[in-house]
């Protein structure tokens, strides 16, 4: 919040004290940008500007009036920012060139600290917003959409590489390769964005320590959300839904430690969470509903705790690939729990074993899913519950809740 206010103040100061240059009436945006002095505001009136690569090398505020269209004619990058304190606001940025050699983008920031990119619409761009080596950037209220038949024809929606203190807020990204891409980005926030129908990941997150992402919606992305090789990441109140496919996950966690997954909603995913190499991470107050597997917990995970989550309508609640379990579960609500509560304290008197025999079988023989919910499977699961032989006996919730938690 502090930083946001600081940016606002700075902008106010610049528009008040800097000059104002208008593009249009025969003056191109490139010319207007060249004419402007550091700290000036360039205003671009409504219209279509087929101008390639507008390079900004000084602090500027570039404002679109009634959403002027910046058309890259399928060959150019549109704005390239290589200076600090540049703001781009209110443009419709369309048709960038597509080149994976140069990573052409709608707006690219190179070593451009304190950039502000807001209220823009990106259509048919290769990369939407591409930021590298730039700290304190703010990317808010943009809408990005693109489409292509194959993944290699697409760049990422919002792409950050080697940045610090970034704020990504209130954006909508669809149809890109990765909706939001973070690599070596630290101390940053991703908030209230909607990332859906991207070809690979809704959020792709690597080597990005001490970040938080909160209140985002990740829906129907090719492979869901992937968070890898990271420490101290806070994942709060996000929605992960409708990510279908054999290698598609609501949330893929790989080599994550000391992080938080709290208050999220996982619904209708093939796997709600797939985790391997994850340590000392807290999963608290999440809802897992109507997933194929709520959680696939690989044996390489340790020291994680799953408390006060609600599991309902999942085909399988938890599956695992080993007998050794070094994680703890407590006070979760499992809709498959059939125990009783004689002392009426709201906690079931017998433990719940969330790994069913058939989830183990279908792990080994995937085709066996076709006999799921048959009478035979029902009997097998019952028999296993009475005399556990295959499922890990120590993976259990000793304090299963009789009623679902109110997760708001």
């Amino acid at each position: 919040m502090m930083r946001w206010t600081a940016v606002m103040l700075m902008l106010g100061w610049q528009t008040a004290d800097g000059g104002v240059i208008r593009a249009g009436d025969g003056r191109s945006v490139v010319q207007a940008v060249e004419m402007a002095a550091a700290g000036d505001t360039v205003i671009v009136p409504q219209g279509t500007y087929a101008e390639g690569n507008i390079l900004i090398r000084k602090p500027l505020t570039v404002l679109g009036e009634n959403m002027p269209v910046m058309d890259g004619r399928m060959k150019d990058e549109i704005f390239t920012i290589a200076a600090e304190h540049v703001t781009i606001d209110g443009f419709r940025i369309i048709n960038t060139g597509r080149s994976s050699m140069e990573d052409l983008a709608g707006i690219k920031c190179l070593d451009a600290h304190h950039a502000v990119i807001r209220n823009n619409i990106f259509e048919n761009t290769f990369f939407g917003i591409h930021i590298s080596n730039s700290d304190h950037s703010t990317i808010s209220n943009n809408k990005l959409s693109s489409s292509a038949e194959f993944e290699y024809q697409l760049g990422n929606g919002i792409h950050l590489w080697k940045c610090k203190h970034a704020l990504i807020e209130g954006n909508e990204v669809t149809g890109h390769r990765d909706g939001i891409y973070f690599e070596f980005v630290t101390l940053s926030f991703i908030r209230k964005n909607i990332s859906q129908k991207n070809m690979r990941y809704g959020l792709h997150f690597m080597f990005s320590h001490d970040d938080a992402y909160e209140d985002n919606v990740f829906r129907n992305n090719g492979a869901g959300v992937s968070v890898m090789y990271t420490r101290h990441v806070k994942m709060h109140r996000n929605v992960f839904e409708d990510n279908w496919g054999s290698s598609s996950y609501g949330l893929l966690l790989k080599d994550i430690s000391d992080s938080e997954v709290i208050g999220n909603r996982f619904t209708g995913n093939t796997s709600g969470i797939y985790m391997e190499g994850t340590s000392r991470t807290v999963f608290d107050g999440n809802l897992f509903r109507q997933n194929g597997w709520a959680i696939k917990l690989m044996a390489s995970c340790d020291g994680n705790s799953f408390n006060r989550n609600n599991f309902s309508g999942n085909t399988f609640d938890i599956s695992t690939n080993g007998a050794l379990v070094l994680n703890s579960m407590s006070h979760n609500h499992w809709d498959k729990y059939e125990g009783y509560d004689l002392d009426r304290d709201g906690i079931g008197d017998i433990p719940f074993h969330p790994v069913s025999l058939f989830s183990v079988i279908s792990e080994h023989i995937p085709s066996a899913m076709l006999i799921w919910r048959s009478f035979l499977v029902f009997l097998l699961d019952r028999a296993e519950k009475v005399m556990p032989a295959v499922t890990p006996a120590n993976l259990k919730d000793d304090n299963p809740m009789m009623h679902a938690h109110d997760l708001g």
Binding site: W244, S246, T270, T315, S367, A368, M369
Partner: protein
């Protein structure tokens, strides 16, 4: 024929058995709604009952009815009437009365307490199972000569389709788990109407998990409408083929 069906239907609907069947379904469904407020969980519990009880009741009741009506069928056949008419009016009367009992027993609580798409699928798949097992019962009844044997065959059918067959499928899948078995599995499943009805249900309830398959064939099968169309189509075959066979046998049967 409609008049014959009307009277036979009237007769069957007043049997205690049909009344108990309706009440049993009704009470089970209401009980489940009372116990659980989550309608999708209720549908799940009802499915477990439907997949076991509907085939059992349909096949046993039909067999018993056929043999109890044996003398009456004989009398009807001594009248100037085509055997096909007698056979179809018997089939339709039994099928309609069981369908009615089923839809009332399962459907009424759904109307009252509310349901979702999976509930409608449950009604559909249960109705299909009813028709299939009535057909199978007629087949086993016309092929055997005495009641006890026919009931034995009927129970065997039920046990085979409800349990043995799936064990066999699981064994095959286990033995050949190193091979790509997608199409084989689907072909195997097509050989069991109970499995097909179940597939209709898990297409609704577990589609998230089913999409976990790597194979493109399963992706199309479960993801598009193909699985639904396939299961429904083959179920219709399961109704028509035993019925057709039973009718052929009945037309030449010595009573």
């Amino acid at each position: 024929m409609p008049r014959i069906i009307k009277y036979i239907l009237y007769d069957i609907l007043r049997t205690r058995f049909i009344l108990f069947y309706t009440l049993f379904l009704l009470l089970s469904a209401v009980g489940m709604y009372q116990l659980d407020s989550d309608t999708s969980k209720v549908v799940l519990s009802m499915m477990n009952i439907v997949l076991i009880v509907v085939p059992l009741v349909s096949i046993v009741f039909t067999t018993i009815h056929f043999y109890n009506s044996y003398e009456f069928i004989e009398l009807m056949l001594a009248q100037p009437v085509n055997r096909t008419v007698v056979f179809l009016s018997q089939y339709l009367s039994v099928a309609l009365s069981l369908l009615l009992a089923y839809t009332v027993g399962i459907g009424l609580p759904m109307v009252f307490y509310g349901t979702e798409a999976s509930g409608l699928t449950l009604i559909l798949s249960g109705a299909m199972l009813t028709l299939v097992f009535v057909s199978l019962a007629f087949l086993s009844a016309v092929l055997t000569r005495d009641k006890a044997k026919a009931i034995g065959v009927a129970l065997l059918f039920w046990f085979y389709f409800s349990l043995i067959f799936d064990a066999f499928v699981l064994w095959i899948l286990y033995s050949f788990s190193d091979y790509p078995l997608e199409k084989v599995t689907v072909a195997l499943i097509a050989l069991n109407p109970v499995d097909l009805a179940r597939i209709l249900m898990i297409l609704q309830l577990d589609v998230s998990a089913l999409m976990g398959y790597t194979g493109a064939f399963f992706k199309d099968f479960f993801g598009g409408g193909m699985g639904f169309a396939f299961a429904t189509g083959v179920l219709l075959l399961w109704v028509a083929v035993p019925l057709g066979l039973a009718m052929r046998v009945f037309k030449r049967k010595d009573l």
